[in-house]
Structures are given as structure tokens and as C-alpha cells.
């Protein structure tokens, strides 16, 4: 099951190439992502906002805080403002979309595109399943700190066990390496789960004798 040296080198070279391409600074990309996310998020949040209860507002960092050139990831950041008129609690959550969504997806895409899985729809299955799972993981990266800050800001109350669970979840997602390790594990599991079984017939274009090439 271990790859041969030349296969491993080819895979690693392709992965590095794709990953570098995804990390080339693209002017406007962060701002586009954060603008779209804030528009979608604001629409979704309107369901939770009422005239007398919790008020939530989502906007891009430049929109909410004003442009700050010293903030390195400002273009990728959306800001969630929450206010609870009943309890008087108020808090502001900065959500960095680059670290919660873009980087894990870039790692996963680079791994998937570099893998020899692009036959008979396998690559597409890996790609779509992986993106779905990473969106869920990204949602967790947003939700856990948001709930923690809501609790600290007096927006919501949590039972003792829920505080413990939140601290545990936060400790799990906080290490910077997790942003890169999770897409790697997701990719490995999906590539393994979709591997061709021994009983699967060869693709017709390989069945003529080129299968060992």
C-alpha cells in the first residue's frame, strides 16, 4: 500500500504546485468571498432577528469597523455583531474566512487534484464529498468561537457541561496545524473509501493490455 518513490514524488510535486497556485495572492478574492458570505449570512441571520429579541448583523470587516490597512486579513474577515436588548449583552465576532474555509479547501483541492483518482468518476466523488465535509468543518470553526464569545458577552447562557464541551471543542480546533491536518485526513479517508475493489472490471480503455503501463 505504500506508494513507489516516483509516484510519491510526482504526487508531492503536483500537490506543492497546486497549493502554491492557490496561495498566490489574488487581489480582490478575499473581498469578494467576504462580501458574498456576508450577504448570504445576513439573509440567513434575518430569521433569528426580531424587533424585541436578539439582534444579529453580519458585514465585511471594512464595512463594519472601517478600513484598517494594518489588519493583515481584513479582506477575508466578516464581522458578526450581536446584541441582546433583554439582558444588555453585546459582542462582536471576527470570522476569518481564509483560515476557516479557504485554506482547508485549498489543501484538499491540491491533494485531490494531485491524486491518481481521476477515472470513472472517482475523483468527482472524492472532490464533492470532501468539499461538503470541509464546509461542515468550517461551520464548526465558525460556530465554536462564536458561541464562546456569545457566552462571554452575555448574549447567551450555557450550562456547566456545555461550557466544558465548548472548551473541549475549542481546544480541538484551535491548533493552527488542524487547519491543514483535517483536509489531509479527509482526503485520505475519501481516497481509501473510494478505492477500486479487486473485483471491479478494468476500464474499457485499459482492458486491452495497457493496464500495467
Amino acid at each position: 500500500m505504500l506508494p513507489r518513490d516516483n509516484q510519491a514524488l510526482r504526487f508531492f510535486g503536483l500537490f506543492a504546485l497546486f497549493f502554491v497556485v492557490y496561495n498566490i495572492p489574488a487581489p480582490g478574492l478575499g473581498r469578494t468571498v467576504s462580501t458574498v458570505a456576508s450577504l448570504l449570512g445576513e439573509t440567513a441571520l434575518s430569521a433569528f432577528t426580531s424587533s424585541d429579541g436578539l439582534a444579529l448583523h453580519l458585514g465585511t470587516a471594512a464595512e463594519v469597523r472601517g478600513h484598517d490597512p494594518s489588519s493583515p486579513d481584513e479582506a477575508w474577515t466578516v464581522v458578526l455583531d450581536a446584541r441582546n436588548p433583554e439582558g444588555g449583552g453585546q459582542t462582536r465576532v471576527n470570522i476569518n474566512l481564509r483560515r476557516t474555509f479557504y485554506l482547508p479547501i485549498a489543501v484538499f483541492l491540491a491533494l485531490a487534484l494531485a491524486s491518481p483518482i481521476w477515472s470513472r468518476g472517482r475523483g468527482l466523488v472524492v472532490l464533492l464529498s470532501g468539499l461538503g465535509l470541509l464546509l461542515l468543518q468550517g461551520a464548526l470553526w465558525v460556530l465554536v468561537p462564536t458561541i464562546a464569545l456569545f457566552y462571554e458577552g452575555g448574549i447567551l447562557d450555557l450550562a456547566g457541561w456545555a461550557q466544558g464541551a465548548l472548551r473541549f471543542a475549542y481546544a480541538l480546533i484551535a491548533p493552527p496545524g488542524v487547519v491543514y491536518a483535517l483536509p489531509l485526513l479527509t482526503w485520505a479517508v475519501l481516497v481509501w473509501a473510494t478505492r477500486p475493489l479487486e473485483s471491479d472490471p478494468l476500464p474499457t480503455n485499459l482492458a486491452g493490455g495497457a493496464a500495467t503501463a
Binding site: L2, P72, R99, Q163, L172, A174, P175, V179, Y180, A181
Partner: protein, 175 residues
């Protein structure tokens, strides 16, 4: 079928060992309990080792608790020890199911290499904070973490190859 069972066993063992490692490390221990004191002492020791490495290049640097203080300063907190990478690497090596004496050699060699790399990371971050403070966040969160994950993955494959060579009579779970 044998290969598939072996890979499945590897995945299960890996998930179980990693889950135990992360549960122990991330458990919300009481803030004034013995576990918190132990973590405090461990992080202070980490800071002392990293501080002594920084002192090779900047002799005036001092270590106060978890902080390395000189012309710039950085604090060692719980995630600075790259434990997530160590746990995943350790779980993967142990999940191979090699005899314990060989696994132990692979584990200690790999973990030592990763800790050395992480100490180099902390030292470099001290100098990045000093000379290029605007680049600190990017190098801290976007340059070093993938390097650690890639090196750990590479080390795992090296260990897996070595273990499959030294234990040819006993096929490894993922080899």
C-alpha cells in the same frame, strides 16, 4: 481482501489512539487543578528550551515563565507545542501494529525530529516578530503549520517503510 482488512484495522487503531491523545490534551481541566499546573510547568520548560536556542543568536534574551523576552517577546501557550501534529503522527505510527520495540524506535525518532522542528519554528517566530512584525501572523498560521504537517506525513511514510523492512515476517497494517 487481506489488504482491505489491514487498512481498516489501521484506520480504526489510528482513530482510537488519536481520539485518546486529543481527549487527554484537550480535556477542559480545572484551571487551578493539578493538570493545569502540570501543563504550566511543561509550557515553561518548553519556553526555557526555546529561549536557550534563541539565546544562541541573541544572548540578552531571558525567559520568564512561559515568555521569551528580549528585543521582542513571545509567549508559549498550549497550542505552541505542535501537539496536534505529534498526536496524529504518534497515532499513525502506533496504528501500523509493528512490534512494540520497533514502533518505539520509530515513534521516538519521529517525535524528537518534530519537537526539534517545532523549537526551530518558535525561534524563527521570535526573530520574525522582531524584524518583520507584519508578517508574523502569516508565518505563524500559514507557513509553519503546513510545513509541520508535511514533515510529519513524510516521517510517517519513512517510519512505515523502515518498519516494513525490519519486520518482513509480520505485514504491517498499512504497509
Amino acid at each position: 481482501m487481506g489488504d482491505q482488512r489491514a487498512a481498516f484495522r489501521f484506520a480504526l487503531r489510528f482513530a482510537a489512539i488519536a481520539a485518546i491523545g486529543f481527549a487527554l490534551y484537550c480535556f477542559p481541566y480545572a484551571e487551578s487543578g493539578p493538570a493545569a499546573s502540570w501543563f504550566g510547568a511543561y509550557l515553561s520548560a518548553y519556553a526555557r528550551v526555546a529561549g536557550s536556542m534563541v539565546a544562541w543568536f541573541e544572548p540578552a534574551v531571558t525567559v520568564a515563565g512561559r515568555s521569551i523576552v528580549g528585543r521582542s517577546s513571545i509567549e508559549i501557550v498550549k497550542n505552541c507545542d505542535a501537539m496536534e501534529v505529534l498526536i496524529l503522527f504518534g497515532a499513525a505510527v502506533l496504528a501500523l501494529g509493528a512490534p512494540i520495540r520497533h514502533s518505539w524506535v520509530a515513534l521516538v525518532s519521529g517525535v524528537t525530529t518534530l519537537i526539534a522542528l517545532n523549537l526551530a519554528r518558535i525561534c524563527s517566530l521570535y526573530f520574525v516578530a522582531l524584524h518583520w512584525p507584519r508578517a508574523f501572523e502569516t508565518i505563524h498560521l500559514e507557513v509553519w503549520p503546513p510545513i509541520l504537517v508535511i514533515v510529519a506525513t513524510g516521517l510517517f511514510f519513512v517510519c512505515a517503510r523502515w518498519l516494513s523492512k525490519v519486520t518482513p515476517e509480520r505485514p504491517l497494517a498499512a504497509a
